[in-house]
Amino acid sequence: MSVSSVTGALPDPNAPFTEERRGLIWLCEREVVRFLKLWVQTLIAPVMSSLLFIVVFGVALGDRIADVDGVPYKQFIVPGLVVQAILTAAYSNNSSTVFQARSDRFINDVLSSPLRWWEVNIGLAIGGVVRGLMTGILLLILAVAMTGIGVERPFVLLIATALVLVAFAQLGVIAGIYAKSWDFMAFVTSLVILPLSFLGGIFYSVDRLPAAWELVSHFNPIFYLVQAFRIGFVGQGDVSVWLALAVLVALAAGLSAWCAWLFKTGHRLKP
């Protein structure tokens, strides 16, 4: 160590706080850099696994499965798979970045900085948003190329994407804050998100289900995400576009409020 070279200005204790570059931008950058460093795991792997479903169920088996409401089966499953990939990416990115930061305690570096509570919230959530978006775009390009699906109502698709990203980015942050172990997050993914996605009508129209199951489906929030995306892609779904979007808005708002409360109060983040 060269102990003689003490450098650095001593700040004026009465000066108002100013930023040369916003701390929030730095935190957002850190979150995006984190998942890009692991791009094979965080982007390529999930896109490949969704693609596998399109190949197996859509392209390989699709010709033997009847059209659903006039939509070829290989196209019918694309909206649900895209939304599932997006929400899983947003959720798993944020739950692991937050949990890792908490368990190694380097989140303290952010919590003790001059970042405001809502900036910390946005910063920690943004990685999932960007990763979800990139996953969705990659998958969309590949799905269009493989199945010839078009986008009938781009505006609906756009709004639905934004809402899904917000909702599941926040859900991931919440899970990362409450989690006591890695197993908890794997549990949420494999026993909550995955089953709800599959039961949410990715592979079938709930119209075909027995009445009781159709009713149950309507209590599954992911059902409405799939519907919103299907309406965006093929122009029609099992419920109205307004209902689907309303559920998404409620979900995004509810989860954002929960998350805001956690950061504002420091509940579970600070003893």
């Binding site: 160590m1 650095g8 700040p11 916003r22 730095w26 460093k37 190694d104 303290n108 001059p114």
Partner: protein
């Protein structure tokens, strides 16, 4: 950026670097770690907080740095509420537990930290290079913290706390697990920071070194301050030859008081 060694500046307008009044922390389980603690650290001081394991040192430091939610009390940093951005900006913290971002390289750990404090990129890069030179970390700039030795991690933690040029530097056992040579270098460096005007709040279990470095010492036990003075004053007060003697006597007396209260 001026070289602080050549032109030390002390605020000198009387506002203490740190002022704690009636700080109490009761953890979620109902355990009260700190009870009604008052403490004032003058601007420019080298202040030692000494006490046994579990005394509440890290709890107090956590509250000052907005990592622990106080149950009661007021904490001010250079006259600002401790949770104000102005206050946070002035505090640099090297925690007792090493907590380095495992996804970033050594240079990025430093640069992003400065970023969270609002520093511009070029400025942060320059400062990181400077501190990596000082702390002998330049050769490891592109390595992850997980691949550093224990002593290197301590140095990185120290360097990170200095990145945003804090006016109050809080060092929670900065030399835990550090070899003799590095330890003396870290102390020497801390002394120079202090000479340059930085207020230092230090906890350590190396009593002799605290005695040599600190202008003022507070002894803390069971979440209360049981003695506070200059090393000299404490030695006189307890009729002890050194701080180790003071420490042992003060702790024994406090233990006796605790027994009497309990009985």
């Amino acid at each position: 950026m001026r070289d602080a060694t050549t032109s030390p500046s002390r605020a000198g307008h009387g506002t203490p670097a740190l002022s704690v009044r009636g700080f109490t922390k009761t953890y979620a389980g109902g355990f009260t770690a700190v009870q009604g603690l008052d403490l004032e650290v003058p601007d420019g001081a080298f202040f030692g907080l000494l006490g046994p394991n579990g005394a509440g040192k890290t709890t107090l430091i956590g509250a000052i740095s907005n990592l622990v939610r106080p149950t009661a009390g007021e904490i001010e940093v250079f006259g600002h509420r401790h949770d104000a951005r102005e206050a946070r900006r002035l505090v640099g913290l090297a925690e007792q537990d090493i907590n380095l971002d495992r996804f970033l390289n050594v240079d990025e750990v430093l640069i992003y930290h400065a970023g969270f404090f609002g520093m511009g990129r070029a400025h942060a890069r320059r400062r990181a290079k400077e501190l990596m030179d000082v702390f002998d970390l330049s050769a490891k700039a592109k390595v992850r913290p997980t691949a550093l030795s224990g002593g290197m991690r301590r140095r990185l933690l120290f360097a990170r706390a200095l990145m945003h040029e804090p006016r109050l530097l809080i060092l929670d056992e900065p030399t835990a697990g550090v070899d003799v040579e590095l330890r003396s270098e870290l102390w020497e460096y801390t002394r120079r920071l202090h000479e340059a005007g930085t207020t230092i709040l230090l906890t350590t279990h190396y009593l002799e070194e605290a005695e040599a470095l600190c202008e003022e010492i507070a002894l803390i036990r069971g979440g209360r301050i049981i003695a506070r003075d200059s090393a000299e004053g404490l030695r006189a007060q307890y009729g002890a030859a050194d701080i180790a003697g003071v420490y042992l006597q003060a702790m024994a007396r406090a233990a006796e008081d605790e027994r009497r209260v309990a009985a």
